[in-house]
């Protein structure tokens, strides 16, 4: 169990490429932190700096008050699970799991007890004599997890451990890792590019882009209040819809539609933002058929033709075009829709996210929305 402080970490490579910029984060004991972002965003580099597999260009890694920068990976009391399992191919499963303990001169009896215990937790007791080549992908990943948990290290580092598994196995193993964390309560830092993994596993998510932290927060905070356009776009599936919005004297212009807004809203908007051009972000589930939305909610409405409809099981995705951009609505229905069918869609203003067009940063609209609630808005 450990508290980790990552103080202003930077990683520069020789060819003057900066992989990580000012990564500053405090991780509490027993937390499950997920670093998420697209490929090349610096999340794995950050993890490897914590592990000691990459030099830190500047900044400090502190675990339980002890600076780690100059410690060898083996002296950091961390265990790591790699994306490609990284099992020792010439050793049996037992030896793979026991290897770290052998290197630490643990007694044979204790090694046996700990390996057996880990194997039991991971349900691989019957595989201990096999070689990695005789195992399936899921079994290999369990052995890799076993190798980490048997060490009883202070910190678990996991570098995309599920990305080589097929969808079904990924779903199962995801749940197993979450259960494992609840059981062992080891502070865990988990790297993934899959926002679903991040949302479902993390106690806190760190969203990264181009080596810079974009937002840190609980899954709910990240989803409900994305700090910028990138976070809004990256977290959530299907991705958030974004439209350019122009504020004029009478209301707002969204694509070809001029939406008249009450003067109080415009006034507040103008004074809050001080800008005439905004980006509006709307999650697909916040665009509903007009009939389905309660009439008392504060909405604006769009009439549009359906480009495509996808039945996803209990939900349907409607694709339509606004301002030459494809938008998606996620409806909780199995109703049939035809291409070209005219529908009237409503958008709940309370759930709309506004962003600065220049900086991409979130604009806090709480006050504006409060004002908007005072009047019903009809397009």
């Amino acid at each position: 169990m450990a508290r980790i402080q990552l103080k202003h970490l930077y990683k520069d490579y020789i060819d003057s490429v900066r992989a990580v910029t000012d990564f500053d984060l405090e991780i509490e004991d027993e937390e499950f932190i997920v670093l998420v972002g697209p490929s090349g965003c610096g999340k794995s580099t950050t993890l490897r700096m914590i592990a000691g597999l990459e030099d830190i260009s500047s900044g400090e890694v502190v675990i339980d008050g002890k600076a780690q920068n100059n410690l060898h990976p083996k002296d950091r009391d961390i265990a790591m699970v790699f994306q490609n399992y990284a099992l020792y191919p010439h050793m049996s499963v037992y030896d793979n799991i026991a290897f770290g303990l052998k290197m630490r001169k643990t007694s044979k009896q204790e090694i046996k007890e700990r390996v057996t215990r880990a194997a039991k937790i991971l349900d691989i007791e019957n595989l201990l004599e096999r070689k990695p080549k005789e195992l399936s992908g899921g079994q290999r990943q369990r052995v890799a997890l076993g190798r980490a948990i048997v060490r009883e290290a202070k910190v678990f580092l996991m570098d995309e451990p599920l990305s080589n598994l097929d969808a079904k196995l990924r779903f199962q193993t995801r749940a197993e890792i979450t259960k494992l964390h609840r059981r062992l309560k080891t502070t865990t830092i988990y790297v993934t590019h899959d926002q679903t993994e991040a949302m479902s596993m993390a106690t806190r998510i760190v969203v990264m882009k181009d080596g810079i932290i974009q937002q840190v927060g609980t899954p709910k905070e990240i989803y409900l209040k994305p700090a910028n356009i990138f976070v809004g776009k990256f977290i959530g599936s299907p991705a958030m819809n974004f439209f350019d919005l122009k504020v004029n004297d009478n209301g707002i212009t969204l694509g070809d539609s001029n939406i008249e807004l009450p003067s109080s809203f415009i006034k507040e908007a103008w004074s809050s933002f001080g800008k005439k051009e905004l980006v509006v972000g709307i999650r697909p589930e916040d665009i509903q058929l007009s009939d389905d939305l309660e009439s008392s909610r504060y909405t604006f409405q769009l009439s549009t033709k359906i480009d495509m409809a996808e039945l996803m099981g209990s939900e349907t995705l409607l694709y339509f075009t606004v301002d030459n951009q494809t938008a998606i609505s996620k409806l909780n229905t199995m109703e049939d829709f035809n291409m070209g069918q005219l529908v009237r869609l409503s958008i709940d203003l309370e759930k709309v996210h506004f962003f600065d067009k220049e900086t991409g940063l979130r604009l806090d609209l709480q006050e504006v929305q409060e004002a908007a609630k005072k009047e019903t808005i009809i397009a």
Partner: protein, 299 residues
């Protein structure tokens, strides 16, 4: 569907034909050598022996084993082959592994320095002077020390090591291994195929080398098998030559006594020198078949 099946059938026929042809190209000369070595030397001179002896005889082999110091030569050969291969491959593997470590200071320069020596050779006389200066001439170490280093083998090993999954090495580092332990317990076991190949090349090189024994060693007790047999061949060839060029009864008397000839002795020598290597081959062949890293990582 039927087209692809027919295509695959033809490919199979082509493959088998090719493999059989290649095998015959190796087996037939071997059988020819073996047949002549087991045939009476004088009879073999008539020609016409291809793959089966006409007049069976083991006198060629008796003549080979009559060679003075043969058992001593065999010991020298085995010693230099075993020690030279084990120590040489071990050191070359260490050098090659060090060259794969990206944080090694001056890695590019060292690699170039190693590679550069492959392009030039000092020639026999400077080479001899260096060996002499190092007090290696006329010692058994002249067979081993200069051969501990082979640029091409180091480069082959380096390429092979650099293709190992680096995450496995990092996992070992986190598990608590020292660099040497990583090399010994992770890198070497994962590189068995390339180590087997390099070991075979090195061992064959040691076994077949008659050159060092001829030029850098005077003591007959230090001559390896290959040198002794090469010297015997030279002597036999010279003797036959003298006898055949001579005229008179003495020559014919001598010729009557000779049952082996230069050619038959040569063939028996080839077989004697070759057999130990042929016997070793099946034991290391399994490492050539399949890479050892299967299952380690997700490719």
């Amino acid at each position: 569907m039927s087209n692809s099946m027919a295509g695959s059938k033809w490919m199979r026929v082509l493959n088998i034909t090719l493999i059989v042809s290649l095998s015959l190209m190796i087996i037939l000369p071997f059988m020819h050598v073996l047949a002549i070595s087991l045939n009476s030397g004088i009879d073999a001179q008539r020609g016409g022996i291809t793959f089966w002896p006409r007049e069976w005889s083991i006198e060629n082999y008796i003549e080979v084993f009559k060679q003075e110091n043969l058992m001593n030569g065999l010991f020298i050969s085995v010693f230099r082959t075993v020690v030279g291969t084990v120590v040489g491959v071990g050191l070359m593997a260490m050098a090659a592994y060090a060259l794969t470590i990206k944080t090694l200071p001056g890695r590019k320069f060292i690699t170039f320095f190693v590679f550069f020596t492959m392009l030039f050779s000092g020639g026999t006389v400077p080479y001899y002077l260096v060996l002499n200066e190092l007090n290696l001439t006329n010692t058994i170490w002249v067979y081993i020390v200069p051969t501990l280093y082979s640029v091409i083998h180091i480069l082959l090993l380096r390429t092979s090591f650099s293709q190992l999954p680096f995450s496995v090495i990092e996992a070992a580092r986190i598990d608590g291994c020292s660099e040497f332990k990583i090399f010994r317990s992770i890198v070497l076991p994962m590189s068995k195929p390339v180590l087997a190949t390099i070991s075979l090349f090195t061992a064959v090189g040691h076994w077949n080398d008659w050159y060092a024994g001829t030029f850098f060693v005077r003591d007959p007790m230090l001559k390896p098998l290959a040198t002794l047999l090469q010297e015997m061949l030279t002597r036999q060839a010279a003797l036959s030559d003298i006898l055949l060029r001579s005229s008179g009864s003495l020559a014919y008397e001598q010729l009557d006594k000779v049952t082996v000839t230069g050619e038959s002795l040569q063939m028996a020598t080839i077989i004697v020198v070759m057999i130990p290597m042929v016997l070793v081959y099946p034991f290391i062949q399994k490492y050539f078949v399949k890479g050892i890293t299967v299952g380690s990582i997700k490719e």
